[in-house]
Subunit: 341 residues, 3 copies
């Protein structure tokens, strides 16, 4: 892609040579010839071997550059465009596709299996060893990385990315005790709907609903090794970092940000716009309002910090109490106590 | 299945039409015609489109219903019966089964591999891409979901369910430092025994013993992304929620309930009947008695709550100390101090 | 292997019969005839059915034994030698190896797929269902267990072990918000380098760098279900227990020991020799010096213990304050207060 074409793609002003061939993106400090990098702010000088830079509008330098309102965003878009051109294409002869499945994907890798009545949209990339269950629907342009497993009846939207080793649509974890104290599985036969533009990290698990549905809203991004239980409802544009676990029937509304290793009890509600720090714990049934939350059980960040500071100050508080006691015992006549610290 | 047959299956009284055809189970509020739902308690009115209800014995309504002692349990059993009839059957030609393996399973999916001397019992369902190692024994009627891996020499009982992406029988995590400070693996060549009626959630890992065995007791249920280390012994009817990790040689006795994201150190013992709350931490070697436990390090729930309340009250305590100090300094002659709060 | 050969292999003194045939290793208390066990210290009597023992130099007993400086280490080395002889060999006809890949491995299992330009060294064992991406390089004698996924361009050193279900080289978790509040992926196109002698537990995930690299140093050992984010740099001989998560760009220097379920924020630095206890939390950007650390946020173990003790003593402190208050109010004339506790 020539620098001129990149400027056109970004709908932005090019300053410098429009005929430089760009093959890939790179970081400012390690980019080589033929790469394009980005500068986030114009406040410091730039030393780079990149052939072109994506820069803020107030940038000036002798290196060829393209001026945009948000360089990091423009860089991300360009990178997606450059990488997208390297997608695999074709259908492996080793794939087993049920005759009653309807597969339009651009690519189906080795040892993929697609069960009856599955529908896979145009432009999809289904990597090696992926399992697609019965009646699964996958929208256009979605990518499923190797060895992921999609259980029966799951719906996946358009333009989704599911990384390797994910398990979507497995049974939820629900049991009833029988007369003898043994656990009998409560039915886990509901659905899982993953809306458009969702990305799911490697080895994450999202369970189907028990009788109802589990739903992941449009544009939500989920990191690796995340656990989402049955009947959970996650809104749009939610971000969930690695190893977080969300228990059954919990609701996370739109535009929340959830840190890593967070644990949420069942039937909790996280209101739109809430931000929950890493390793936090949300009790079952808790309602978490908008704002920044931290700790177990979660508290507003300010309270968490204040409380943490008070715990850290416990040694001093204990000293003070000891001094007071001494003062009260030793100077019973009321002499002004000296602060001994 | 007709309503009359369902009543017979549940050994229960049918009130209403015995000829209604039931095709599946549903939730009370979303069930449709041809579905059966359940009512847990008779204390509120019922509005449903279900064709039949499983209800407590004191229930009365015009809709066709079946009276049982424990509606939720009866519903669960019926659901298992209805779903069980949809199990796949046959043996994929793409599966590679070692000539010295003995496979009686009802179903072996695509790209399954079964190594030498493995034995898989009658009625088993081995889904696509599952790996069965050498000398593995799997009892009757067990189900292994896609892409799970069973290492060599693992024993799995009857009627077990192992969800997708599980790894059972991998090496434990044990090393010895050599003279140069490098880690040499301590042998991880023991066994793993999974008893009957155990269920294991997606992407969970259970390591083999180092020299001895790891054991999961009968009827135990394990959620997704759980880690169970080498030489752990888990009793019967234990429930372990998602993302919990149990370190080496720890013992969990029968009928314990372990929340999600719990961490247990090595060589701990959890006595029969203990309940451990989510995100709790059990120190190595700790003995956890029956009762409800919470926090890190775990404490009895009452203590945990009391302590949490005291930490929350620290601000007030600090105020009180300040007031006392002021009172002692300002009123040395002994005037009764006023409580300023 | 005869006892005489074992003594030669360990370069150690044999006391007793050199012609006993040893087939495997066992634990001291459960070993059978034909097995060799080890005794860590000579301070207690030994009762064993093992045919030979590896013992400290001051050991004496009638059972055939081999005297070494570090019995546990010698035992581990011997076990590795005995197990190593049972490695599989050959290349499955069901494997799909790209014609432009260069595979010298000793074993390639069923349904393995190897993409273009991948290089796999001599003596490697690539188990069933493993996916090797384009341009992947794997050094000599490495073992990759079933259904693991190696994304494009990842470098794996010599003598590495990657357990089943691992995902190495997936996209990191990084996004840029666009004008409409949607998340656009920041490019995740860097590399992942796993140096020699690294072991990675089942179902763990290590992401590639975004633009730069993620690196796992020589001799580092990683347990199951661990998450390592993009651009993380882990030094040599680091041990990381199960379910720990390390956020982007964090640096862990050589010879650190990280417990299970630890969470580390991004851009933190753990200095060489630090030991971090299980479930600890390291804040973003934090520098953790050598020493033992515990809790969230991490503190030196001594401080953590002191603080924990103080929190546990809060009830008593509150009593003391109450008594002081009472003393100040009730005995304003200065009578020495009695300690009522």
């Amino acid at each position: 892609m020539k620098t001129r074409e990149i400027a056109e793609f970004l709908d932005a002003e090019l300053v410098g040579d429009g005929d430089i061939e760009i093959v890939s993106v790179g970081a400012l400090d390690s980019a080589k010839e033929g790469q394009i990098a980005f500068v986030e702010r114009s406040d410091k000088g730039v030393v780079t071997a990149a052939s072109c830079l994506i820069v803020p509008v107030d940038f000036s330098d002798t290196v060829t550059h393209i001026k945009v309102a948000d360089p990091k965003l423009a860089f991300a878009r360009l990178a997606r465009r450059l990488v997208g051109e390297q997608q695999p294409f074709g259908r492996s002869q080793t794939a087993v596709i049920h005759e009653e499945a309807h597969v339009q994907a651009d690519f189906v890798g080795d040892f993929v299996s697609v069960a009856a009545n599955a529908q896979i949209g145009e432009g999809c990339v289904i990597h090696d060893g992926v399992r697609i269950g019965r009646n699964v629907v996958i929208g256009k342009l979605s990518i499923i990385y190797p060895n992921s497993v999609v259980y029966d009846n799951v719906h996946i939207g358009e333009n989704c990315v599911i990384h390797a080793g994910c398990v979507v649509g497995a049974d939820g974890f629900g049991y009833v005790k029988d007369e003898a104290g043994n656990y009998e599985q409560f039915p886990q036969i509901g659905t899982l709907v993953i809306e458009d533009n969702v990305e799911i990290g490697a080895n994450s698990c999202i369970d189907r609903g028990s009788l109802g549905e589990t739903r992941i809203g449009e544009g939500t991004k989920i990191d690796n090794l995340v656990q989402i239980a049955h009947n959970v409802s996650i809104g749009k544009r939610v971000v969930i970092a690695a190893q977080t676990g969300i228990s059954g029937s919990t609701v996370i509304e739109d535009d929340c940000v959830i840190g890593g290793q967070v644990g949420m009890g069942d039937h909790a509600t996280v209101k739109s716009g809430a931000i929950i720090g890493s390793q936090a714990g949300v009790l079952p049934g808790k309602i978490v309002r908008a704002g920044v939350w931290w700790g177990t059980p979660v508290q507003p960040l300010d309270e968490y910090k204040r409380q943490n500071a008070m715990v850290k100050g416990l040694g001093r508080l204990r000293e003070e109490v000891r001094d007071l006691k001494a003062a009260l015992l030793d100077r019973p006549r009321g002499d002004p106590a000296e602060d001994e610290e």
